[in-house]
């Protein structure tokens, strides 16, 4: 379903952030991408949701090459990929309900669906009581759970989580890991980058290890080894 075909990415003529990467991810997989800072983990993810494009090679989502998509198709692609980041990236002037509703609105959902689905997804991440709070009124763990709720509310095919536990304490980290596993069990492909050994080991699934822009290990049921 997702295929990186000999992908290289250069930033401003510097050394390659990733070089000659070939990687295939099947539907329903949960993949942890691990590596030191600067290994190229985030670059790979950014190419997947078309924030940047490869300097060489191609990235495919299904049968379509991402670089060849029109503007409209790119927007559709992003609505089909849920994203979670270390810094949460919530809309600060919108409350929890509106942050999630916004993702549904841009996907063209009608008001009735939004009214029904937002409380449901907030219930799923355990934040029903914070529906009308603004992001600044929430803890880091709560903000990340809002980001997860926003990422899954449109039932995307793929969920990308870029260092989702980087700013969280162990308890919140555990909660986020459990939620991601639950989402994966429901059939969503989950691609996770992390530095956290505990998170990777707790997942017990496929682990792709990057070093200086190259894949040095790809284990079906791996552990965090660096």
């Amino acid at each position: 379903m997702i295929y990186f075909d000999r992908v290289t990415k250069l930033y401003n003529g510097g050394p390659p952030a990733v070089e000659d990467i070939t990687l295939s991810i099947d539907p329903g997989e949960l993949v942890s991408i691990v590596g030191h800072s600067g290994a190229g983990k985030t670059t790979l993810l950014k190419m997947l949701f078309a924030e940047i494009f490869p300097t060489e090679g191609s990235v495919y989502f299904g049968s379509r090459e991402i670089a060849g998509l029109s503007e409209r198709e790119l927007l559709e692609l992003r609505r089909n990929i849920g994203t979670i980041f270390q810094d949460f990236r919530l809309l600060p002037t919108k409350n929890v309900y509106e942050n999630i509703a916004f993702a549904m609105e841009v996907a063209g959902k009608d008001d009735e669906d939004i009214k029904a689905d937002v409380p449901h997804v907030l219930d799923l991440v355990g934040l029903s009581e914070k529906m009308w709070n603004f992001p600044k009124e929430l803890s880091g763990g709560e903000q990340q759970r809002v980001a997860i709720a926003r990422a899954i509310v449109n039932q995307p095919d793929v969920l990308i989580a870029d260092e989702p536990t980087g700013n969280l304490d162990p308890i919140n980290t555990h909660d986020v890991v459990e939620i991601l596993k639950k989402i994966n069990n429901l059939g969503t492909t989950v691609i996770l980058t992390t530095h956290n050994k505990g998170v990777v080991d707790a997942m017990g699934r496929r682990v792709v290890t990057l070093e200086e822009g190259h894949i040095i290990r790809d284990d079906k049921e791996g552990k965090y080894v660096l």
């Binding site: 924030e51 927007l75 002037t93 993702a103 841009v106 009608d110």
Partner: protein, 307 residues
């Protein structure tokens, strides 16, 4: 999704964003008030200048005096020819009898003059025509036309054209009027451009504070109009609110300035002008505010839009 649903959502986010970013909105409205005040000031000073220049222009005319022996046909012929000239705004004819009556009225307290006039068997005064041109610069052309008439074989009954006696004053006035208009246009363009730039930059700063938010909207797959729309709606609100505030504040201000403006400019009363042209003011100020807010927001968001 229907156009109506999208518009409704964009408008709602625009309103809500305007209210929730209270301090930023307040700063933008404040700057827009200053900008629209400059616009209103330019409109009023332009009108005051026009009224003053018109008043001065109205004081200028050229008179053509006919000999007492000029026939009725000659005078009428010159008058009709003048009326056909495109430069001529109006002609005022004074007959020999009217000139005599005017003379008697003007000198009614000077017995000797009146007695000397009575001694004469005939009216010694000729008819005259006072001519107003559309522009002061056109008097010379009219004077030349009259000279040509005077140079014709019968002289068209013309005794004297007083243009050259007044030429220096008319030329100076023409210069003053043209310079005043040029200076006024240059000052208006400069002030309008400066205030538009200030307003644009304030709105740009307001949107700069939301650049991360725009990035997140792009990330969740929001289309350009979904991202841009609420900012444009907020920009329109800045314009509408500041426009209303300017129109409201102007009213007591022109009441206060009214008598002073009339004393200073002669016939121009700023209160009469404001109340008499309120429809024009309303449309100009409100549409300038809305256009400035909407266009500034539209352009400022563009910088942060990318797919």
């Amino acid at each position: 999704m229907s156009f109506w649903v999208t518009t409704k959502r964009v408008a709602r986010y625009g309103f809500v964003g305007f209210l929730r970013n209270g301090f930023v909105s307040l700063a933008a409205v404040f700057i827009m008030i200053i900008t629209l005040f400059v616009f209103a000031g330019l409109l009023m000073s332009g009108a005051a200048l026009d009224a003053t220049l018109k008043q001065l222009t109205d004081k200028v005319d050229v008179n053509v005096y006919f000999t007492p022996t000029a026939s009725e046909e000659q005078v009428t012929g010159v008058k009709s020819a003048l009326e056909r000239l495109p430069e001529v705004a109006s002609v005022a004819y004074t007959s020999r009898e009217a000139a005599l009556a005017e003379f008697r009225e003007r000198h009614k307290n000077e017995q000797t003059t009146i007695q000397a006039l009575d001694q004469l068997s005939d009216n010694p005064l000729g008819a005259s025509i006072a001519i107003r041109a559309k522009e002061t610069s056109q008097y010379e052309a009219i004077a030349k036309f009259l000279e040509a008439e005077q140079a014709s074989p019968d002289g068209a009954g013309i005794s004297k054209v007083n243009f050259y006696q007044n030429k220096t004053a008319i030329d100076r006035l023409t210069n003053i009027i043209e310079t005043s208009r040029t200076v006024a246009i240059a000052a208006a363009v400069f002030l309008a451009a400066a205030s538009i730039l200030i307003a644009f930059n304030t709105i740009r700063l307001a949107i700069y504070t939301a650049r991360d938010e725009i990035g997140v909207m792009n990330l969740v797959g929001a289309g350009h109009w979904y991202v841009r729309g609420p900012f444009v709606v907020a920009g329109i609100l800045y314009g509408l609110i500041s426009g209303v505030i300017v129109l409201v504040i102007l009213y007591p201000l022109v009441i206060w300035l009214g008598p002073g403006s009339e004393a200073f400019f002669g016939t121009f009363n700023v209160l009469d002008y404001y109340t008499g042209s309120f429809g024009f003011f309303f449309l100009t100020i409100m549409s300038s505010g809305v256009a400035l807010g909407a266009i500034s927001s539209f352009l400022a968001v563009r910088r942060y839009l990318h797919t």
